[in-house]
């Protein structure tokens, strides 16, 4: 094998490290995106028997956003195995206990249940904040695009920008400003 072919072989089968910012992202939408990179579905050499999955580093998992009233409606079920050992934990309670658990469970559930799933999950690293260990961060070479736009708060917009923004509503003539 020539030197160029050997390098091509390394580059094809090397694991790439991706980073994903979970800020204001729906975990169940982004799980379908993360899943593809974890399993290697984005590669043309993909095969279920081919160990070609990548590593995904999720940061800011504390800042995930759930839709509507899902924080208090979605329940996570657990059974200890003993009689009466069933518990239902609401999403906000689970997020209080462990801010990485929701995104982890979402990715786990997005994948098909087989013997490979546990090993694929080992390649998913989740951090609740922006602090990532240095030895993890120096491997990262790619960023996964977010699925939702991060909204801007009104108090983060400068006063002069919001003053000069085009208006659609004008007050009636006898309105008393408050």
């Amino acid at each position: 094998m020539s030197a160029a072919k050997r390098v091509q072989q390394w580059a094809t089968f090397a694991r790439t490290w991706h980073i994903f910012d979970c800020k204001w992202q729906d975990p169940y939408e982004s799980a379908n995106v993360i899943k593809k990179y974890l399993m290697g579905l984005h590669k043309p050499i993909y095969h279920p028997m081919n160990d070609c999955g990548d590593v995904v580093v999720c940061i800011n998992s504390r800042e995930i956003a759930l839709r509507g009233d899902e924080w208090r409606k979605r329940a996570y079920f657990h059974h200890t195995g003993y009689p009466g050992g069933a518990t239902w934990t609401l999403a906000w309670e689970l997020h209080n206990k462990d801010p990485t658990m929701i995104i982890k469970k979402a990715v786990y559930r997005a994948m098909k249940g087989n013997l490979q799933r546990r090993h694929t999950m080992e390649r998913l690293l989740i951090y609740p904040g922006e602090t990532v260990p240095e030895d993890v961060l120096q491997n990262v070479t790619n960023q996964i695009r977010q699925t939702r736009l991060v909204p801007t708060r009104l108090d983060q917009i400068p006063e002069e920008v919001s003053k000069a923004y085009p208006k659609v509503m004008d007050y009636p003539e006898d309105y008393i400003l408050k």
């Binding site: 204001w24 956003a65 919001s162 659609v168 509503m169 007050y171 003539e173 309105y175």
Partner: protein, 180 residues
Amino acid sequence: MAGLVRAGFSFARNAIFSTSVRSIATTNPLNLKEIRERTEGSSIVIEAVNVPSPRTELLVRAENLPNHEPAVSPSEKPPCYMCALGLDVKHTDVLILSQFVRSDGCMLPRRITGLCRRQQKKMGKLVTMAQKAGLMINLTPGNCKKDPKKRREHKKFNTYFDERTIFMKKIPKPVDRFKR
């Protein structure tokens, strides 16, 4: 005689509904006003000052846009200004939604916004969504905890909303897909 009776009735009506009928006013009623309060020595002076509207210059109307086509038949009622503009407003468009609220974050009534019923409902719901998501925390009542992270229980976490649910009669639950 009939005129006298009618005058009597109108006088009684004016006495009862004096807030809606402003036949007598000491000041010019048709002007945007700002109430100012200041202290002069030991006395507090409260006055209403006529001010020009700060929004007139920046106002966007569909009829002023270059490629605007007016409604087909003049007999129909023209659409309200938001329907005519046809904007796809999301709950994250806080620069638009903040124009429909008071300084305490409360939605303005329809007689002030001048919207049609449907748009008023839509804007009110969008404002609620933006407030629940904590995107307009500087337009809140004084006793409000400004930072969304200081809220209680499930309210302190980030929430986003789907605008399609505004006019949905019945919002489907996740278990509904198992029903046949």
